[in-house]
């Protein structure tokens, strides 16, 4: 029950302004405070389902909020980056201490992805909204396909690291909580991995969408990191990449606290509940539900961009 206390506090925070400014409605529309309150609730629910579905909350945020809320996509992307950033920052310390996130592996990848995320953010903010909507819709539908077909390799076999991985000492050790075994890992295909992260950075900056959906397969299937190290290191990479891209949005004035703060707080509180419900909810059912929602939101973004469903 204690877990619900911060949620109630968050809702109360949003309601603080309600009675004071009930008159603040656009002609015929709901009062202004309805939207941030709805955003807080929506993000709280997204946070709950994101954990059991094995997907970052940021990936759900931009397509859903961009499609069903009245905020312009510029502000949604700015808030999306902050949602992904805050989630990555919150999880980062625990992952690093437990060895599931490797700073040594994250740093070279994050450096390239950070630089390219700035380019992505600048290009994304310069593009017309309908073009961004079309590309976002296509990307989200692509993520759905990836979620369907992507396989995971828990402990990929890396016979020997490549020269660059050896030179950078990209290896580590962690204790697998499920089996209690100590796992020593190393990676290979470092150069292709770096190039893939260059592209991932562009997408992260352009769409403000958390890039865990791309980071984890790249680290796990391409570079050969164990899936838990891939997921943990992805969080560390995201914390650096989204920092760079977020600054571009902040400097352009595309971060509205009224949109960003309820989203960040709602998502983080929801994720805490989601983590507690991990053993109660059936992951496969939640995952199918999330895929369904993403399919709908992706199609909506695509059709909105094409002017078919404005």
């Amino acid at each position: 029950m204690r877990a619900w206390v911060p949620v109630a506090c968050g809702g109360a925070l949003m309601c603080l302004a309600g009675p004071a400014d009930a008159a603040g409605a656009v002609a015929g529309g709901p009062p202004w405070w309805v939207w941030p309150l709805a955003l807080f609730v929506a993000c709280f629910v997204m946070g709950i389902v994101a954990v059991p579905a094995g997907i970052g909350g940021g990936t759900l945020f931009v397509p859903i909020v961009g499609s069903f809320f009245p905020f312009h996509l510029d502000f949604v992307r700015g808030a999306g980056l902050l949602v992904a950033l805050a989630s990555a920052l919150s999880a980062g310390p625990m992952l690093l201490r437990g060895g599931l996130g490797s700073l040594r592996l994250a740093l070279p990848l994050a450096l390239l992805a950070s630089a390219s995320s700035i380019v992505g953010a600048l290009v994304g903010l310069a593009m017309p909204a309908n073009v961004v909507q079309i590309l976002l819709g296509a990307l989200v539908l692509g993520i759905v396909v990836l979620m369907f077909v992507s396989k995971k390799s828990e402990f990929p076999q890396v016979e020997r690291p490549d020269r660059l991985a050896q030179a950078l000492a990209l290896h580590g050790v962690f204790v697998d909580g499920a089996s209690g075994r100590t796992v020593h890992w190393q990676v290979h295909r470092t150069v292709p991995g770096l190039l893939v992260f260059l592209g991932i950075g562009v997408l992260a900056g352009m769409f403000g969408i958390g890039a865990g959906w791309a980071n984890v397969p790249a680290l796990n299937l391409l570079m050969g990191a164990p899936v838990k190290v891939a997921a943990g290191t992805s969080g560390v990479v995201l914390s650096l990449v989204d920092s760079s891209a977020a600054w571009v949005y902040i400097n352009r004035g595309a971060v509205l606290p009224m949109v960003a703060v309820p989203s960040v707080v709602g998502m983080m509180l929801g994720a805490r509940i989601g983590a507690r419900l991990l053993n109660v909810l059936k992951g496969s059912v939640v995952r199918r539900l999330v895929i369904g929602v993403l399919l709908f939101a992706g199609a909506r973004a695509l059709l909105k961009g094409l002017g078919v469903w404005p």
Binding site: F71, L89, G92, L107, S114, L122, T182, V183, G253, P257
Partner: protein, 144 residues
Amino acid sequence: MAVSAPTSRAHPVQPEEQLRYARLLDWGTRVGLVMLVLSFAAYVSGLAESHVPVQRLPEVWQHPVAKYLELTGSPTGWDWVALIHRGDIAGLVGIGILAGCSLLCLAALIPLYLRRGDRTFAVLCAAEIAVVLLAASGWLAGGH
């Protein structure tokens, strides 16, 4: 990949730089989130006057950012610092801390790497700091 049998030994100790980074990141995130929530509470409760009145937001948040800036006269780049006493602008302090706390963490690693002779990673940290600072400077985004 070497997988050892289950063991009752304590968890392997992670590298010193990783633990230092984790400790600083933890604090930076906490401070950022507290600032974010406090400034937002002051904003929505009306304790601090807003640059853009909250009642006006539904008229303007549906526009692209360029139009929004034109309609509201909101600042770009680092000009928001001059308006930090405004409730909505003060929210950017917490956001800025969250977006910038990795800088301190990375900077704290450089002497550690240099002391160990690991110049490559000292350079990687410095380069990452430079990239984030470049993004934060506002030069690329056309801010002031």
